[in-house]
């Protein structure tokens, strides 16, 4: 039978929150980058052509590949900077969720048409 591990009591976190904060903020930034690229590809013929990395899939291939690359890169940099630190988590959460919310809105075609 498995027993609970009591390392790190509720009052004493054992791992700094920096690594988690880096992952959370990077995801918000990555999602927002995807939305910005999608809008840019929709509005600019030059950007659309530049993002056509795999012709059968079209500009979607570039939008998603570049966004995923930016996400992973941002994540790696933030993790490297914050891994051993504790950071203020509330502003990180707010920023990440606002970016995610904006990303959901900016990919919605009627809103894209407003730009």
């Amino acid at each position: 039978m498995n027993k609970p591990n009591h390392a790190g009591s509720p009052a004493n976190p054992t791992i700094p929150n920096g690594s988690g904060a880096a992952a959370v903020l990077a995801a918000g930034i990555g999602a927002f980058a995807l939305a910005v690229l999608a809008v840019a590809g929709d509005k600019s013929a030059l950007v659309k052509t530049s993002l056509n990395l795999y012709p059968p899939t079209g500009p979607l291939s570039g939008v998603t590949s570049v966004a995923v690359l930016l996400w992973v890169l941002t994540w790696a940099i933030l993790d490297w900077r914050w891994r051993s630190r504790s950071v203020a988590m509330r502003p990180v959460n707010v920023a990440a969720l606002v970016l995610l919310g904006l990303s959901l809105l900016m990919t919605f075609p009627p809103i894209v048409d407003l730009f």
Partner: protein, 190 residues
């Protein structure tokens, strides 16, 4: 009883990866709530934590498999451009939808939104899985990180839900067809 290779890929993408992912989301949300927030629950055992880790990794794999198969296998068939002079559009779903005012919205709103919003699902669940695995049972001591994990899992569920609903409805309006025919069973007379 037969199915085309493109129909089979659409089935694998939608039902195999997408629908299974959506089903897994509800389980993940309940378990994350139970193991990190609920005040009535007991602390997770090592086995329960290991199960949650494997569960979330499996979800991330399913989400990535769904978007990658969608973007690089199904979507090229969906958006294929018919050669000049083609009269039948059955093999060109996007063109079928765009050929009528009654169906064009399925492409201009449905597919245009689905093809982008779907990617938020793997990004969000990968983030949630990383945080849960990185912190393990110590996550109970990081209330803000717990909130982020639950929110990211919810966003992932929402994004996958939007993509899944539009995918199913678009495929109903203009199914991806073609490829070689796979015989599943021979029809026997009664």
């Amino acid at each position: 009883m037969e199915i085309t290779s493109r129909g089979l890929w659409t089935l694998i993408h939608g039902m195999g990866f997408g629908a299974l992912y959506l089903l897994a989301c509800s389980g993940a949300l309940v378990e994350l709530y139970r193991s990190t927030i609920s005040s009535v629950s007991q602390e997770s055992t090592r086995g329960q934590q290991r199960f949650l880790n494997v569960y979330l990794i499996t979800m991330a794999v399913l989400a990535w498999a769904a978007v990658l198969s969608g973007a690089y296998v199904i979507y090229p068939w969906y958006r294929a451009v018919p050669p000049p002079g083609t009269t039948g559009l059955a093999m060109y779903p996007q063109r079928i939808l765009m050929s009528s005012a009654a169906t064009i919205g399925w492409h201009t709103l449905g597919m245009e939104w689905k093809e982008h919003v779907a990617w938020f699902a793997p990004m969000s669940i990968t983030t949630a899985a990383f945080v849960v695995i990185r912190y393990g049972r110590d996550l109970r001591n990081h209330p803000q990180l717990r909130t982020a994990v639950i929110c990211f899992t919810l966003v992932s569920f929402l994004a996958a839900g939007i993509a899944g609903i539009f995918g199913a409805l678009i495929n109903k309006q203009a199914p991806v067809q073609g490829g070689h025919v796979i015989q599943l069973a021979s029809g026997g007379g009664k």
